[in-house]
């Protein structure tokens, strides 16, 4: 037989197979697998390129030094002497005002030359940097303040003209500020705005660019004298900001979803190929009887798989590219634009994965089928499973696992996940099948069909063991992702008392204190102003940090950055004393301090210990006399360490307060900014809205993957239901001839699906509660609660899914001629 005629036969055979539901299930599963694998590969690479691997274009430089304090000018001098270009950037949150609208923005103050790498794109196109007296703002700033290019904005003590809209910009900074809309001004204008004072939350960056050799030299020099709150970002070391870690978590979650989809699809492909090859034994035997060799038969079916793959690869990759565009639109605010294209190889990765899976999973049943004898046409005997077949299946399993591990690029995690999933699936399958049996037993006597149902459950056991874990796990995952999102945002907010502060005021200078108090009083706002001084812990009981604390303790944030210290004679009302006694005043030269409970526990601080601090260049000591419990999420100014009055009096300081403003009181914000343009006002509602939008966008992206996973699960259920369809048809036909009505037969199916749905939904709800309890207790730190709606909605959803796929699977069953069916099927 020529290759051409083999290919032609394969083509005709494929077209014919396309009419079979089981073959369609295979095509769908393969398409979904290819879509998700391509989507993840392409999107993952683009995200990684834009965030994971910092590029000079995104960083705006070859190397950046970040600090919470002004950076020593000597470093810039040194860089210039090495022939490097350098530029300083200051970034901080502030509220801006236009008419009645207030907006929390992140203000970036830059000086020429800037940026050192990449470029800022504006509309209209403007060269270099904002001219003094003008600013550039991102589109969301203009939209939300109802402004356009040419309008004026108040910023601190200065009025600026909006000169351009920022289309794309490198060096968006790090931390939460990257989610806030940004505004860029020229460094020359900063002093006039008077926005930068003691206590402002400014972050400083020094950018460097130039010859690699000189950069290396500078890097070594900086590292030698780097403070613990400074970070040096080079092109090789990955960044560590909220932005990328949120995206990294999202990407991990996506990978879990993708892994699940790929495993489910692989199972579907294996099962549908099994069914298809079993159904094709007649054809194989006929072809052998016509003179075809086993080898030609294998090539024929392999060609059929290849043809199917080509179609699925085209459609699957196409779908992936569409979804990718959609995801990029969703994430566009979070990603520095333009997002680099993925490397070409990633566009073909899904299709390649699909091909290898199809061949790996397809070979064992194909080989088994080609071993069928012509004799099968005379006497139907099942071909025995040979040892070779089993070995081939095992090899296929190992190969596929290896492939997934390579694809997901995290060998250990993939192995652990696959192991955990398999064990969970096994337990769920066993337990679920047991629940089914028990429920059917409990129902006995309630309905005439229950006896038959028990038989059916016995008979379908092995498929139930596969359907139950897949559907329970999928529903649980979806419920978890939906609840975790809403729980995190809404319940956290709901747990706050109604009068929890919704505004923070920071950067209040001592001379502004009374004025601020007065304005707050005018609006009947009740609030206390706390002094805030930044200091670093230097010793415990006279012993330096390096030896006084264990290496684990030294990892604590409080020992690695400047702390916000305060003083007051009265313990803040929202704190609670848990040990010692509150000291209202110092005892002569000895200052007393009160420390926060968790901080004291972690660092092993005890009552009577002396903790030493460095504030600026001054040393300050305090003896611990009390330990306080602090509710960090209360939105009140909270401090790890509070001194008795006196010890910190002459240090550089600012004041901080928070208050709850509602309705008319909200106008206080504008009033405060008008009178004290340099204080920083943070609207918590806006901050939460920005966080909610970030989480929303990430979870919408994950939702897309979850939908694909669910689709993969449904195809699997359909495939498993189709596996024993002949058995079901035979059984129903038999019942017909024994006097059952078609309705009764349908009822039996519906009863089975309803019971399956209840069991799966119940298991999913239970799994969901366990996972959410863990997330609440350990990750989000909110009081765990039950989700009663899950216990109703999930079983209903599962029942609906089973009924729907069941109806689809048995759509073609012609029950009108039971007798003929019985004859052909028996």
């Amino acid at each position: 037989m020529t290759n051409h005629s083999l290919l032609k036969l394969a083509w005709q055979q494929t077209l014919a197979a396309n009419r079979l539901p089981i073959w369609r299930a295979l095509l769908l599963a393969l398409t979904v697998a290819i879509s998700i694998a391509t989507l993840l590969a392409v999107l993952g690479d683009r995200l990684e390129q834009s965030l994971g691997r910092q590029t000079a274009e995104l960083l705006g430089a070859d190397m950046t030094l970040r600090s919470g304090r002004p950076i020593d000018p000597a470093i810039a001098e040194r860089a210039r002497s090495l022939g490097l270009e350098t530029s300083g950037v200051i970034q901080f949150p502030t509220m801006i005002e236009a008419g009645d609208n207030l907006l929390l923005i992140s203000l970036r103050v830059v000086e020429a030359p800037y940026p050192l790498r990449g470029k800022i794109v504006t509309q209209p196109t403007l060269p270099h940097l904002p001219e003094p007296g003008t600013l550039w703002a991102e589109p969301s700033v203009l939209e939300r303040l109802n402004l356009k290019v040419g309008d004026q904005i108040e910023l601190g003590y200065t009025t600026f003209t909006v000169a351009a809209q920022l289309t794309s910009t490198p060096d968006r900074g790090n931390g939460f500020s990257t989610f806030s809309p940004q505004v860029i001004i020229n460094r020359q204008d900063l002093t006039a705005t008077k926005l930068l004072g003691v206590g402002s939350r400014a972050r400083y960056r020094q950018l460097f660019a130039g010859e690699p050799q000189a950069l290396k030299q500078l890097e070594a020099r900086i590292r030698a004298s780097m403070a613990s709150d400074e970070r040096l970002i080079t092109l090789d070391n990955s960044n560590n900001n909220i932005n990328s870690s949120a995206l990294n978590n999202a990407s991990r979650y996506l990978r879990l979803g993708a892994l699940l989809t790929l495993l489910i699809s692989a199972l579907t492909i294996a099962l549908s190929l099994r069914r298809y090859t079993l159904n094709s034994r007649d054809r194989a035997a006929v072809l052998l009887s016509l003179g075809m060799t086993a080898r030609q038969l294998q090539i024929l079916f392999l060609l059929q798989l290849l043809l199917a793959w080509v179609a699925c690869a085209l459609v699957g990759t196409g779908i992936a590219l569409l979804l990718e565009q959609f995801a990029l639109v969703l994430l566009s605010d979070l990603l520095p634009q333009p997002v680099p294209l993925a490397q070409p190889v990633f566009y073909g990765l899904g299709a390649l994965l699909g091909l290898v899976s199809l061949i790996t999973l397809g070979l064992p049943p194909m080989v088994a089928m080609s071993q069928v004898s012509v004799m099968y046409l005379f006497r139907r005997t099942a071909a025995p499973t040979t040892l070779g077949g089993r070995v081939l299946q095992l090899v296929a399993g190992v190969l596929l696992t290896g492939l997934l591990m390579l694809y997901l690029e995290d060998l250990q995690l993939t192995l652990i996940l696959i192991g955990a999933l398999l064990i969970t699936a096994w337990v769920l399958g066993k337990f679920g099948a047991w629940l089914l049996r028990i429920s059917a037993f409990a129902l006995a006597g309630k309905h005439t069909l229950v006896r038959l149902l028990r038989l059916r459950i016995q008979q379908q056991q092995r498929w139930h063991r596969m359907q139950i874990p897949v559907i329970s796990l999928l529903l649980a995952l979806m419920a978890i992702s939906l609840w975790a999102r809403s729980d995190l945002m809404e319940r956290w907010q709901n747990q706050l008392p109604d009068d929890a502060p919704n505004h923070f005021l920071i950067n209040i200078q001592p001379h502004e204190r009374d004025g601020v108090d007065q304005v707050l009083d005018n609006y009947q706002l009740n609030s206390s102003l706390y002094p805030m001084i930044r200091g670093r812990i230097s010793a415990l009981n006279g012993e330096p940090v390096a030896t006084a604390f264990t290496p684990e303790q030294r990892q604590h944030n409080a020992l690695n950055r400047e702390l916000n210290l305060s003083w007051t004679s009265e313990m803040p009302g929202h704190n609670r004393l848990v040990a010692g006694r509150w000291s209202p005043q110092a005892d002569g030269d000895t200052a007393y301090i009160s420390v926060e409970q968790a901080f004291a526990n972690t660092l092993g601080l005890k009552l009577g210990d002396t903790l030493s601090f460095t504030v600026g260049s001054f040393p300050v000591d305090g003896v611990i006399t009390s330990v306080r419990a602090v509710q960090w999420e209360s939105f009140q100014p909270n401090f790890y360490v509070i001194f008795t009055p006196g010890a910190l009096d002459n240090m550089p300081m600012s004041y901080i307060t928070s208050f709850h403003a509602e309705g008319e009181q909200r106008k206080v914000a504008a009033a405060l900014l008008q009178r004290f343009p340099t204080i920083t006002l943070i609207d918590i509602d806006q901050l939460l809205a920005q966080a909610r939008s970030l989480i929303g966008k990430l979870s919408d992206t994950s939702g897309m993957v979850m939908l694909l996973t669910l689709l993969a699960g449904l195809i699997l259920v359909f495939t498993t239901l189709s596996q024993e369809l002949d058995q079901r048809r035979y059984e129903n036909a038999l019942l017909h001839t024994l006097g059952a009505t078609p309705q009764q037969c349908r009822q039996l199916d519906l009863l089975e699906f309803a019971l399956l749905g209840l069991v799966c939904g119940g298991l999913a709800a239970a799994l969901g509660e366990i996972a959410l309890w863990f997330i609440h207790q350990r990750l989000v730190l909110i009081e765990p609660v039950l989700h009663p709606s899950n216990w109703v909605l999930l079983p209903l959803t599962a029942t609906a899914l089973f009924t729907l796929t069941g109806l689809l699977a048995r759509r073609r069953v012609d029950e009108s001629n039971s007798y003929r069916l019985l004859r052909t099927l028996s």
Binding site: M1, T2, S5, L9, Q12, Q13, L15, A16, D282, R283, V286, L287, L288, S289, L290, G291, M292, T293, A294, Q296, S373, V374, M375, L377, F378, R379
Partner: protein, 236 residues
Amino acid sequence: MNGPVSEIILSAQDVAKRFDTQAGTLELFSNISLQIQRGETVAITGPSGAGKSTLLSLLAGLDLATEGSITIAGQATHQLDEKARAELRSRHISFVFQTFHLLPELNALENVILPLEIRGTTDAPDKARSWLQQVGLGERLDHHPAELSGGEQQRVAIARAFATEPDLLFADEPTGNLDEHTGEAIIEQLFQLNRDQNTTLVLITHDNHLAARCDRRLHLHNGELKERRTAGALHD
């Protein structure tokens, strides 16, 4: 029927077939010997479960006997490996089945072309067309099996079986799925072609009437194969 030079195309000598079952060894038949000459029509009859299909599988070289030897066109099947037996079948044997077993996605012509193409025959389409004309389906070449009646499908299957010019044709209940009238016509055609092509026909059937039309009738019962006289033999 017997010409001056009779050629034995198929012979079995002391053939036995036993299966290992959970209850022990089951002997289906033993000491079966027969010789079939080129051009003969032979019916194998017997009650269900007597082992007719198993005997057919041994005679067609699809399976090996537990004891004894079977020779097809001068080659002893037990001396050949699976591949060589497949080649032997491909050269000398065709099958006609009760349920036709046409490939549904191929039209009548393509179904007949298929075994020719598998054998690399150069003028496959012409040959196939001519065979379909011989069975009276010259006008329905491009019809798919679903568009043909049962009788027509079996005729395509017969054309397909004869197209490769086999020495031996095994037919398993060829009229089992057809009404009496159509079955009659099909059998008529099968016997006619068989005579024209000098093919040896081995039929498995329950139908006594059909068996009676064959040159010889072998009855398999209780593990024994006995020859019965037939009307066909009486005609000679």
